[in-house]
Every structure is written in C-alpha cells, then in structure tokens.
Symmetry: C2
Subunit: 413 residues, 2 copies
C-alpha cells in the first residue's frame, strides 16, 4: 500500500475526557510479587472463571484452536483462548457468530476468551515483509496485500474471501468484538514496522492513542458488564515513544494493557523494548504481551511483569512435526527426523496427558510420514500441554523464588 | 498391467491336506437367530475383548483412523479397527511396526483389530478403473499403476513411496501380518474386476484358493494363539463360482470368512452376489463383508447373515463435510451447504457424544469454510458414532424382531 503520512492532528489530551468505566464482573488480584524482579502472581477473574497468572493464551484464530476440539484444549491444561477479529469479521462474520450464540457458545469453550482488534492483521496485510520481519517468516507473495488505506477514520481493506470492501474503525472494531462476545476486547491500533521512521512511528502512535479514546467511548456505549477492554502500547523501537505510549494507556480507563507493535530484530532489542514499557504502564492492571511465546521470551518477560502471553507457534509448529520440549536445543524436537522412526518412547511420559505419554515418537514419526492428520493433532495437544505446564512451573517458581533455576531446566543457551 | 492368463494348475484339493488349526483364544458364539432372515446375534471373543455382532469395523488404513485419536474412536462407541497390510508394509514397514510393539501398542488401541491381506490393493493398483468401478470413484490417473506382475507365486509391485520392488506372496502376507500383530489376519487373494471373463475369474478364483491353502500353512507355522485367520470368497459376478468359492472356504480351517471381490454394478447385483455366497459358507464362523457400508447395504446384508462390515466412507466423507444422519436423503447431510451457515442446532443432540451434541451445524459449516481441520475431526467422530449407534440399534432390533421397522427409520428409499 501507499504509506501515507498521518494527518497532523493534536495528540489525545493528557487526561481522559470521557466517562469513567467500571468493570464489576472483572478483577485482577496480584497476590505475590517477586523479590528480585517485577514478576508477579495474580488471579484474573472473569465471567468465565479465574485464570492464574502468569499464563499462556492459546490461539484459536478462526474460532478454532488448530486441530483440537475444546475438550482437548481443556485436557491439555489451557485456561484461556484468543481469537482474531480480522479473520472472524470476514468468515463467518460477526453477525453469524452472534447468531450462533457468540464465541463461547459457538466454540463450546467455557473458559475466558480474548479477541484482538484486527490491528496486527491490518499491519501484516499492508506490509507483508514487516509482518514477516516480526514473525521471522519468509514473505509469501500469494498472501497478497489487501489493505487499501489507513486514515484517521480507520483502515479500509478488501476481504480475502470475496474481495468485498471492508472498513475497520475504532467504533466498528468495538461493535464487532461486542458481537463476537469474548470476555476481553482490544482497542483498535495501528501496528508499525521496525524500519519506519521515528516521525512516522510517533504520528502513528498518536493516532493509535486517539483510536484508543474512540475505542473506549464506543466500548462504553454498549457496556453491559460482560466485557472488559485492553489498551495497546505502541511506539515501535523508540524508547521515548514506548514510554510515552505506556504512560498514556495508564491514564485511560482500560481494564488491561497489551503491548504490541514491532519488537525489533533480535531478542536483546525485544527485551529492551518491553523493559521500556513496563515501568510506565498501569501497575495494577493485567499486562498482555501480544504474539510472543518462546520459553526464553516468556521467562524473561515474566521477570518484567508480563501476566499473559499468546503465540500461534505451539499449534503451528505442531503441524510441521515439532514437539515442544523442556531443555531441548531450540526448545523442541523434530519428530519428522529419521532418528525417531524406531523410537519406542513417548515424547514426555510424565506430562500427564495421553498425547505425550501413550504414543511413541516412532508412531508419531510414522503419522507425519504417512500424512495422517492424527500426528498434528497429537503434537498440537502436546505443545499446548507443554505451554500450560511451563506456566504452572513458572508460577510455582515465582512463589518459591526459584525462577532462575527453573529457567535453566527449560532453556539451554 | 498386462493381464496374463493364470497358469493352468489343478484346483486346490476338495479336502484340506494341511494340519488342522485350533484357535484357543478366539471363539464366535451365535446366541440368537432371526426368524424371518439369516440375521444373527453373536459374540466374537478375541484376546482384545469381545465384540457384539453384527458390528462395523472402523478403517484405520495406515494405522490411524483418519483425524481421530484412539480415545476418540472408543468414545464414539467403535469396538474394532481394520488396518491395511499393503499401506503398512510400505510405510512404516512391518519390521518397524513390530519394533514399535505391534499395531495395538503402536496405535494405543486396546480393542480387536484386523488387517486385510493386501489383495484388494493389488487389484486397485493394477486396475484403477476396476477399483473405481467397485468404489464408485472417478479414475485418478495420478495414483499410477504400480503393480508389475501377478503370478502363481504372488504379486510383484513397486512401492508408491520410493519405487522399490516389493513382492506379496501368501507366505509373505502372513509373515507381514504376523509382525503387524492384529487379532485377525486375512489370506492373500486376487480380487478380480467385474468386466473380466468368466474364465479369467474362475482361474483367478482357483489361484486364490491355492493361495488360501498356502496362507493357512504359513499361518500355522508361526501360530502362537494370538491371531486367527479369515479365508476370502472370490468368484466375481458368477453364481457358480461364488458358490464354489464359498463352499471351498468352509472346507478349510479358517477361523472366519470374508467375502471380497467385485460386487457388480448396482445394489441389486451386489445383493445377489452376497446372497449366492451365504448358504455355502461355514455357518458357524464369523462372516465379514469387505469394504461395504451404506446403511441400506448393512441392513440388507445383516439379513443375509453378515456379522461384520468395514468401509472407509464414514471417515472419508467427514473430510468433505458430510455428516451421516439417520433417515436423511442419501443417508447424510452436507454441512458445507450454505443453508447451515446460521443453523444453531447440533447435528444429533441425542447421540450422546459432544461432537454431535455440543457444536452447532452453523459452527461446523464455518470450520469447513475456514479450512479448519476441527470440522473434519468432529464429523469423523460423529460418523463413527452414527455407525456404532446403527449397529447397536440393529442388534436390538434383531432381538426384538423389529428390523423392518428400524430400517424404515434409517433408510429412505
């Protein structure tokens, strides 16, 4: 797309001008803080139950966790599912989800849910290479670029399904997420890429802040206590902008804070960017880190005070034969590797779930060689069970002051 | 392939010349016979438990029931799984299955299992059009024809995986099935097509009979009580040959009888062919009908005295969005149809399984539109649950003399 300059509108005012928003059916209780870091233990109370934090949110992009039914997701120990506004507004459409009873009823998932705002997809549609840059993918030209225009009003784009014109504004993003019906919704934001200028990033950040205020106002109009809204911290790779954006969200009556946007080109830059944000955000609100999820990332960001994470990687790599594994090089095993062909041992006998304990690596290797989808199903459930196990161990370690020791068990440097 | 004439060898002798074979760990108890038909109720006792008959055997071709783990297969009410010798000898290979503990342990399936002999695949590889004729498929030229030669000795063919030369003889089919380790193995046979001459069919049938004797001898050499063997009735579309072949199997110490080969071009011819066989086979042995499985076929063949059925259709059509349904036109619903997009009702609330009762048709429609594999998983389990339910209802109806009434509920003519 043509990257247009943002209109030079005044930044959102320092103090919020809208009505205050209460969340009577939601709360976040921080009941333990680490001595040596910002790590904390909390309970996120929602209309669909309580989630212990730090925790990992499983991706169910199109209202389905890849390859698994919700009973299997639950069995794996997952507590929380994220779905994507952008995908669902196109297929099956927010009205259809509403007719089918909203996401929880439609998916038959009884735990908490969060939908993102569509902001990241706006970004990745418009700038494939930038999304790839964040996600470490090769650019796939077939994906196309269906974003047509971003203005102060919102983002215009075309449906990947039928080419029809669509428009996402802060107001429509709220309306759509109201119809989808998750517990948590996210304000609309523009996700900027690493390589864009500081000026562009700053202008965009201010627009995201104005969109935040519009999102809050729209959210509040139909607020009935069933949902709570997260603000998003942008500001790209620039310290002053990240700090400014983090502080901005704290002045607004968001229930929670999500940290989004580019996290730079490597772990150190990523860690630095999240570090800039954390002292400035609202300290008593739950903090979600969007789209992040290696074991190492999670350990380091838990220390920075992140409460929830989400990442498509556990279910995505499962489809390609990778099993997440504590202490393995690269944090995983490639079960397509011929060395597993005759391996009689299950992936992880002690994990307490049949996918990991009752099927040999040799059998799973065979399933991938034979293109049997059961292989992907077993590994998807295994990988989610590993993430749930990791988060349980992290919570226990925070309590027992053993986070450093635990990290050495999980992550080989 | 070049269809060579069979060698003019003498038919197998009328009386079996080999050693008798006992099956101390297997039995088949027929405890009720229908007044109005040959339908019967039985219990098939195996080292992996007892199966009530009539019953449906679920296909797990490559040692995996498509899209389902064995806990889901069990939850659906299935009792029995069939796997394919031909596929498994190529990937992962019989030795690998043996190293991984045999089919039961490898698949984590605790119920009875049967492997076919590879005969049907020899046929379908050599004569794609003929297999398509039986199975009602369009010929797919990409599948290729890897059969190189059938002789009295056996069938030579090339691996679809790496082009390597393979050979299946009655003896090697037994050796492979011994390594695979199912409860039930099947003799090697040649499956002849509908359009071949009576002379070819007769010569082939005699060869299959000789192969049956060789299979029995090879089976008995390594017989340790853990497996039982089925003979196969061939004879194509010719009454005299079908009767001859059925009677032949009864003279041999097979544990059970499988009816294979072509069943003609339509239901009436199929029904006639099975009818010819049934009075001549061993009356006290379990009878399996290979590869058959519409509701109508099953009702009619239960009346002819068939005890077990298998068919890939329930799991295959699931992948394409079809849900089996009692009393539906064509016995199924097409959930890809737009009319289901907003349908809030589950497929079959009373079926007693979450896949059929806790997900709306509208949601499953969405999953197929969005290419989410969960749709196929839910329908595969639903379809297996429907087959298990059908067989339970059929068994009850035989006992209560209400088979005609039940058929009217299931099958709309």
């Amino acid at each position: 797309m043509a990257r247009k300059k943002h209109k030079k509108l005044p930044p959102a005012p320092d103090e919020y001008q809208g009505a205050d928003i209460q969340y009577p059916n939601f709360s976040f209780d921080i009941y333990h803080r680490d001595d040596k870091s910002r790590a904390r233990l909390g309970r996120l109370n929602t209309p669909h139950g309580t989630v212990e934090t730090p925790n990992f949110i499983v991706c169910g992009t199109k209202a389905s966790v890849k390859a698994l039914n919700p009973m299997q997701v639950k069995e794996a120990g997952a507590d929380f599912i994220l779905a994507n506004t952008y995908h669902l507004m196109i297929q099956p459409g927010a009205d259809t989800v509403q007719k089918l009873g909203g996401l929880h009823k439609m998916m038959n998932w009884k735990g908490p849910m969060l939908t993102d705002s569509g902001g990241f997809q706006i970004y990745s549609m418009g700038d494939g290479t930038d999304a790839d840059e964040i996600k470490g993918r090769n650019y796939n030209s077939k994906r196309g670029r269906s974003l047509t225009k971003i203005t102060e009003e919102g983002a215009a784009f075309r449906s990947y399904k039928d080419g029809s014109k669509l428009f996402l504004s802060p107001e429509s993003a709220m309306e759509i997420q109201r119809k989808l019906g998750p517990d948590f919704v996210v304000q609309l934001d523009e996700c900027t890429a690493m390589h864009v200028s500081e000026q562009y990033t700053e202008d965009s950040m201010h627009m995201s802040h104005r969109w935040g205020d519009r999102s809050l106002e729209a959210f509040n109009k139909s607020h009935d206590g069933t949902q709570a809204i997260y603000g998003v911290v942008q500001g790209g790779v620039f310290q002053n902008l990240r700090e400014q954006s983090a502080a901005f969200t704290a002045t607004r009556p968001f229930f929670g804070t999500a940290i989004g946007g580019t996290f730079g080109g490597n772990f150190d830059q990523f860690f630095e960017i999240v570090s800039w944000c954390m002292p400035h955000i609202a300290q008593d609100r739950p903090v979600h880190l969007l789209g992040i999820g290696t074991f190492k990332d999670i350990f380091e960001c838990v220390r920075l005070g992140i409460d929830t994470f989400d990442c498509v990687s556990p279910t995505r790599i499962a489809r390609h034969g990778w099993a997440l594994m504590k202490g393995a090089p690269g944090e995983r095993l490639n079960l397509r590797n011929a060395k597993y062909a005759h391996d009689q041992d299950p992936i992880w006998p002690e994990l307490g779930i049949p996918c990991s304990s009752q099927f040999s690596k040799g059998y799973i290797h065979h399933l991938f060689k034979a293109n049997e989808s059961l292989g992907g199903q077993l590994l998807a459930q295994h990988n989610i069970a590993v993430m749930a196990h990791l988060m349980r161990e992290i919570r226990k370690a925070i309590k027992e002051n053993t986070l450093d020791e635990l990290q050495k068990e999980w992550v080989i440097e």
